[in-house]
Symmetry: C2
Subunit: 276 residues, 2 copies
């Protein structure tokens, strides 16, 4: 039985998911949030999908153990790797960031091509592309590995970001009319991308669309909190707390308390395919 008084559990490999958390806490201002930033194992995007699925299961189990009444996977790679399997594993509702972004893009497109920008892992998983193609939409996809460090480095509004945006967008189709920002870091690049694309392309921010979808479904599931006080946000971080706080603050996305979370360090175990 879900517990409408517990926090909403949210996790990501790092600070990117804070864009989703911020949108969620604005859409659900009376709810508490418990966010795990798994920075010790960042980035998920270049790791094997089975490994990322293991991380997602571990973090979701932990959030449920901490009393979460629902889980939001605020990470495209983890959403692609772990959903819908995760929803079967745990006993509270689970949402990812992919379905809401796809739904918003299908609503926005005017018959042209829908584009997807994301990390290597998200684009290679084809999680967005397969859903869009199943809906009969023409798709263009591009992995943009430089965007995350550009955002974290605080140069999203500089000529560097503009040049890199033009680099990634240069082979886009002429009839692109909608572009999904399929990475939680990319909301910081909205202005730069809009400038590079011009007004004919609608940008879909999956942080905003996910928050809207979750808020609406929480209400219909009877999981909205009954209190009217301001919600509380707590962050648990597996890596360096100072770096997390610094980057999250620089992005303008950090609210609430930050505490360390230590997972068992990986040690040598089964060795497959050693030398000879």
């Amino acid at each position: 039985m879900p517990n409408a008084t517990g926090p909403i559990g949210v996790f990501d490999s790092g600070v990117g998911g804070l864009s989703v958390l911020r949108a969620l806490s604005r859409a659900l201002p009376h709810d508490d949030f418990l966010y795990i930033g798994d920075t010790a194992r960042i980035p998920y995007g270049s790791k094997p999908m089975a490994m990322v699925r293991g991380f997602a299961e571990e973090l979701a189990d932990l959030l449920v153990a901490y009393g979460a009444k629902a889980i939001v996977v605020a990470c495209n790679t983890a959403s692609a790797a772990a959903l819908p399997a995760l929803a079967e594993r745990i006993r509270v509702p689970v949402w990812g960031v992919i379905e809401p972004g796809v739904a918003a893009a299908l609503a926005a497109t005017r018959g042209g091509v829908v584009g997807v920008l994301g990390t290597l892992g998200t684009i290679r998983s084809a999680a967005y592309q397969s859903r869009l193609e199943r809906a009969g939409v023409a798709v263009w996809a591009r992995a943009c590995p430089l965007f995350v460090p550009i955002v974290e480095e605080g140069v999203s509004d500089t000529e560097i970001a503009a040049l890199v945006a033009r680099h990634y967008l240069r082979d886009r189709p002429r009839d692109l009319d909608t572009l999904i920002l399929a990475c939680t870091h990319y909301p910081a690049l909205v202005d730069t991308l809009a400038e590079a694309l011009g007004p004919a392309v609608t940008l879909v921010d999956s942080a905003e669309t996910t928050a809207a979808a979750v808020a609406s479904e929480m209400a219909s599931l009877g999981l909205a909190t009954a209190t009217r006080r301001a919600g509380h946000v707590r962050h648990l971080v597996t890596g360096d707390i100072a770096v997390y706080r610094h980057t999250g603050t620089a992005l303008g996305w950090l609210e609430g308390d930050v505490a360390p979370l230590t997972l068992a360090a990986p040690r040598a175990g089964v060795v497959v395919g050693g030398p000879r």
Copy 2:
């Protein structure tokens, strides 16, 4: 007792150390090499130092178990985190990339400032700065988080790299005369950096300087191989093999066979500082 017939073990968090491996295999063409690319846990640069030290101990132990006659830590972050403690732990000689780079810079400087470019982790560890300052040299240091993805993205020779190089170098001191490339990815940026700096600044490539130091010390320790056949290079990769092979090949740094290495996946263990 060291075994002069075993391979030289080399490890890094990913493909960056391949610049060191390539320089080593040119300096020691008759030796075999066993390289671990720990891409499953990339990047080391943003992780807590104690965690990186644990990774380094694990990988060095593994290389020794596989018969390595010597170990080269081809990673600045791991060298800063694990040396000299690693040298006391294992029973074969161990070299890092920091001491050779510092020695080369001290030999190159003409009384001006010595600069250090590296990842956040390397610069924050102050491993280079403290050694240079102990030698009485004025130091300027700059973390360059965009350089690694620029190199891995294959845009090292484009206007993007030039713009980012000017961004990182814009507050360098006027009397900078020597610049250490304190990250194993940066040899790919030598031309771009030389162009941005002009001829008055000497670039120190720690891959080259490390290979020269290791080759010379191997000879004096009696560890040089007696064979005259061409050495064999084998790579063990903890993360996605296809991505590793693709990136290493695109960089022009990949030679030899590639095989998977599975370490035990990290699971939830001791939890420190959970909520309330």
